[in-house]
Amino acid sequence: MIRLFLVDDHEVVRCGIAALIDAEPGMEVVGESDTVRGALVRIAVTRPDIVVLDVQLPDGNGIELCRHICSNHPETACLILTAYDDDAASVAAVVAGASGYVLKNIRGRHLIESILRVSEGENLVTRDLAHRVHSSLSAKAAQSQEQSTDSAHLELTLRETQVLRLITEGLTNRQIGARLDLREKTVKNYVSGLLAKLGMDRRTQVAVYGAMMTTETPPPSREAEH
């Protein structure tokens, strides 16, 4: 029996997924939460096989939640379920260290199939994809640096660059700590700082990925209008 835990702040979504999974033989929902805080507590208790979670949650960032689960419950896999497009979802999955992502599409049994594959230990985030995400994020950071006149807050430090590279290699916070000889707590801070620098922690932003690809910058310069 595959034991699943659902994290999504929309009850209608949790109900729908629960109905879908319950109708599927060999799967069961062992718990649900609509917040990061609730998820942390209940996942520690229920020890599910797979957590299906949205990256945008009312009290925090699903990406950090996901990284926390991977570090502290290595036996639990995470599957990101998002309403954003493939690009945003890919970035989120790679940065979060999830085993894969599923878009919120109804047809096609994607969710069920992905759950089955992940439960067999498969990682749906390929090295190829992780590498593309890494290139894209690095290019983005470099570009922000070039464009911004007050680049100080956008510039990635050497440590952050190292952490970003290890994140995209699929390492958990604990593994990164061991690799860089840092405490896990310190790595967590670097990750939070990275997410903030890349604009990924802003609730006000339209999308996790959108926030990154479309940073809040002043309107186009006047020269452009002339």
Binding site: H10, E11, V12, V13, C15, G16, I17, A19, L20, A23, Q56, A83, Y84, D85, D86, D87, A89, S90, V91, K104, N105, I106, R107, T126, R127, D128, L129, H131, R132, V133, S135, S136, K140, Q143, S144, Q147, T204, Q205, V206, A207, G210, M213, T214, T215, E216, T217, P218, P219, R222, E225, H226
Partner: protein
Amino acid sequence: MTPSSDFRDLYASDAHTPSRAEMARSNHFLTADHGLLNLLQASQLVTGELDVDQVLFNLAEAARTLVDAHFGALGVVDDKGEMERFIHVGMPPELVEQMGHPPRGLGVLGAVLSGGAPIRLRNLADDPRSVGPPLGHPAIQAFLGVPITIRGSVYGALYVTNPSKKAFTAHDEALIKALAATAATAIDNARLYESSRRSQELSAALGDVAGKLLNVGSTEVFGVLAESLVSLTGAQLVSVVVSEAVGSELYVDTARGVRAARIEGSSVPWMDCVLSRAMDGEPGITTEGGEEPVPFADDIPSASMVAVPLVVDGDRVAALCATRSADESPFTQDDLALLSEFAAQAGLAVALAWARADKQRLEIVEDRARIAQDLHDHVIQRLFGTGLGLEALASPHPQLTDSIETHVTQIDAAIADIRTAIFTLQTRTGAEATRHRLLRILAELSGTLPTPAQVTFTGPIDLIIVGPLADDMAAVLRETLSNVVRHADARTVEVAITANSHTVELKVDDDGIGLSPDSSRRSGIENLSARARGHGGDFTVSARSSGGTRALWRVPVDAPELP
């Protein structure tokens, strides 16, 4: 009734007959009185006028009649003491024309100005300072020149001359001196009036500009300034010129007035002229008959031009430039001062307008972000949840499966559309994501279709379609779509763009007339095939079973080089 007849009446009413001596004395008195009378009339004529040009002309004419001279003239000098204007009276216009350039203020004319005292001569040519009359000037002998002094500085001089040796008297000199004193007051008043009228016009124009700037888009700001300047400066042409840097080409951003349509959008090379100096921060005015090139001279020949820098928020953003055609009076220092004052005030108004436009743009961005977020947070989630619920109904009610599938497909399509909408609503900066680039081409080209093209994206488009592949994809989409628009006569067009780690695919389906053997379209197809082959892929065009055409461009994706 004139005072002189009053005097005569006075004498007549006296009971005794006047002696010869008395007659002579009264004649002299009458003559003197006649002069005074004329002076009074002249003063009235001069002081009653507020237009400087008219005042000057009246003065010259008054001087001539006052002393019964053949020719009269009035010269005005500029700040450097050079003759700026010279008004002839009593001279046929064609002669004035023939003499051309006004006298430079040399010789005796200049001596009146520099000496600051009247000069009265029986024969002009006898004076050692004389340089002789200008070419074409009728011969003159008797000469009287009186300087006009305003607030301690020489403004100009009144000149009267006669061709004969009939010399001017000390009495004439006293009259002209008196007239010159009145003239000074009159000119001063007229100038004060003129300057207050100008500042009134200026503040009215600036008020108008500030009001308009609050109501127009930020791109029309220069147009508002230029329009206002045309009427304020009495120019034939006003242009707003920008330049990327000091020394680089000057570009006419906005032009208003004569030939504006020709001049707007044109470029002028950076050359040593008033325009370039204004761009460099120095207001200026063209010198009359100067050697310097005058921009736009081809369109407004031998024109006079003033130009000042426009400073907004500490940045020199443009030069404001006014041009008068050759048949208008050239710009003066007063015009330059007016334009400078206008530019200083307008700079503040423009800064405000731009700040306001920036704020509006920011509000739009925020508004769109909010809409996108609402779509994501509420609309998609509900559709998704509802769709899942609907799907769950299918197993207990197998007879409904087909119908449920149809509905669920529709809901999924709606979710995909909303996802694209969210993407479009996001503000983009920096390098354009491939998805945005493709959406922009779609929006641009589907304007001519009966219904906008439907588009679906599948897979991580931006992560996989990068670099040269993205360029080719954009070119292929553009070419395929414009083929459909031009030749297919289609009602609906569906575009599907798919990317996964192995393949990238662009599919364009239309319901048009199908593929014709039209050669121009064939060459387009060959071009698209070549682009596909370049990536090791292929391009096919086939007839759809439901009618219309399917164009499919498909290339394999190389795995990125792993570190």
